[in-house]
């Protein structure tokens, strides 16, 4: 959904301001230094993992075809809901997949997260086209490009008058699956990094066994991962402003801004998630 009177962002790509870049770099460096001070090398690695996860989420969100309210009325291609909701759906599905696979090691868990997120987007994108084609009787056509970059299908002759296109062309479907996979991968990476730290530190702080504290570690890592996921997804949504068709959309080129913003935001939220350990039992 876009609003009248809002900032004009469609013309050109405004690069980040100098101050914005400096603040981002300073925040990331400070977060890494604090992590080293608090939990030594494990903390630095965790914060780096969290930053990579946040960047993957923000980048992945740009692949997801979002149609918003216009898509619900068949006036724009994409899935008929907002960026944050779609990202949350894909990312949380991925997170659940990854969390389930966590005991099988990092590689399997990350793959599980990516497959979970990708699968959710694949099912959603397919169902969108089923509803468009069999329910509303309109073929999938993009309004941003004349030809599908993958299949070579042409769009203008299928695009209804007065619309920005409709349905989900194949390139948008592929974009959605890639976006879901990247989101799930990023969310799972954040979860696993936090889980490692909590499982290593909480038993020492609270003087318990790893098994006893496992529910707390899992739940804390999970809720922090969800929180960071939403912060990054919304920053990416602000970058997209409204609708995007997928990787072929001109708005896709804006992704570097969201990547920088997500890196800084993840570093700051990540350091609080880790610093929490130093305070438990201290008060």
């Amino acid at each position: 959904m876009s609003a009248l009177g809002g900032p004009k962002q469609t013309v050109g790509v405004q690069p980040p301001t100098g101050m914005g870049l400096v603040v981002s770099i300073v925040l990331i460096v400070v977060a890494l230094a604090l992590a080293f001070y608090l939990v030594q090398m494990a903390g630095v690695l965790a914060v780096i993992g969290i930053i990579i996860g946040g960047v993957l989420i923000a980048f992945g969100v740009h692949f997801v075809p979002v149609g918003g309210a216009p898509a619900a009325m068949g006036q724009a291609p994409g899935i008929a809901t907002g960026v944050a909701m779609l990202a949350a759906g894909a990312g949380l599905a991925g997170l659940f997949g990854g969390a389930w696979a966590a005991p099988f090691g990092l590689a399997v868990a990350l793959a599980g997260g990516a497959v979970g997120g990708g699968l959710l987007m694949a099912i959603t994108c397919t169902m969108v086209n089923v509803i468009y084609i069999f329910g509303m009787g309109i073929p999938a056509a993009s309004g941003k490009v004349a030809k599908d970059p993958i299949t070579g299908d042409t769009f203008p002759e299928y695009k209804s008058q007065g619309t920005e296109g409709h349905g989900l062309p194949f390139i948008s479907w592929v974009g959605g699956v890639i976006g879901g996979a990247l989101g799930g991968l990023g969310g799972t990476l954040i979860y696993l990094e936090l889980l490692d730290i909590y499982q290593a530190q909480l038993p020492i702080i609270l003087n318990t066994t790893v098994e006893q504290i496992a529910p707390v570690a899992v739940s804390l890592a999970g809720i922090f991962a969800v929180g960071m996921f939403l912060v990054n997804a919304v920053l990416a949504a602000y970058n997209i402003t409204g609708t995007i068709e997928g990787p072929h959309d001109p708005k896709f080129k804006r992704f570097p801004r969201a990547v920088i913003a997500a890196a800084a935001a993840s570093a700051v939220t990540g350091i609080f998630a880790i610093a929490l350990l130093r305070l438990i039992g201290g008060f």
Binding site: M1, P16, S219, L230, Y238, N239, A261, V268, F283
Partner: protein
Amino acid sequence: MSVKVEVGAGGIPHNQILIYGLVGSLVLIYLTYLNTITGTLYFSFFGGLAAVAALVWGTDTIKHLCSYGLGTGVPSAGMIALGSGVIAALFGATTGIFAPITTIIIAAIIGAVAGLMANNVVRMNIPVMVVSLIELAIVGAMTVLGLAAMACGTFEFLGMITGTTVILGFVVQTYEASLIGGSIVAVIFMLGAIAIQHSFNACLGPGEKQDRTLTLAAECGFLSMITVAIISFAFIGLLPGVVALLVSVIGWFYTYTKYIALSKRDAYAWLDAQPILEPKGGA
């Protein structure tokens, strides 16, 4: 295709609501500390009331922010509020009696970073962005902390991760049957997120009135409180749970009746309809 976000003029100034919301939620959440002082659990419901105060304030902030046209859906503001809020709330909870104050400070830091990133890196260029995201992060944090305090009777981290369970007649302390160990915090997260993002989204458009929107926010808050009151039976026992449930239901019923009355008032004013006058003494 764009949807115009119209915000009704007039009503209580935003800064006044900010002060009421901030001070109100802080005082109300500290009232749950009466539990620790008196050694009972009857004062848990004050946490829920703190969440309601924060939600009313947050809804007005969303209204204030979205009047500039975000270019993305209203719910995304609610998602970033709770996403950054849950991190601040759980971090703040580890500081014992200072929890609510620490939570506010940490939430303000995370909100400021998100706001700076949104304005200077993503280039939203919205004048109130930084202030609004700080406010929203505090609202999200106070909502989570308030509802969590209502569910388990304390806003302290150790109280949130420890619970009791009965095994063969013996009361045993366990981490699994606790607010965080049982992942109840995820439920609280979503209850807060839905409450904060719904009200303005439902009321925006022509004829939006501040009192109606804010009444709906309070109603959503009490609705979340009802669910948390039911959850709290598991942690704070039967009688305090009944007290919390009664407060929630009475609050919900009052705000719901008021909201319906305000909706009728505004629908009548907007439709320019005339009431059908019954002839005196019957037809």
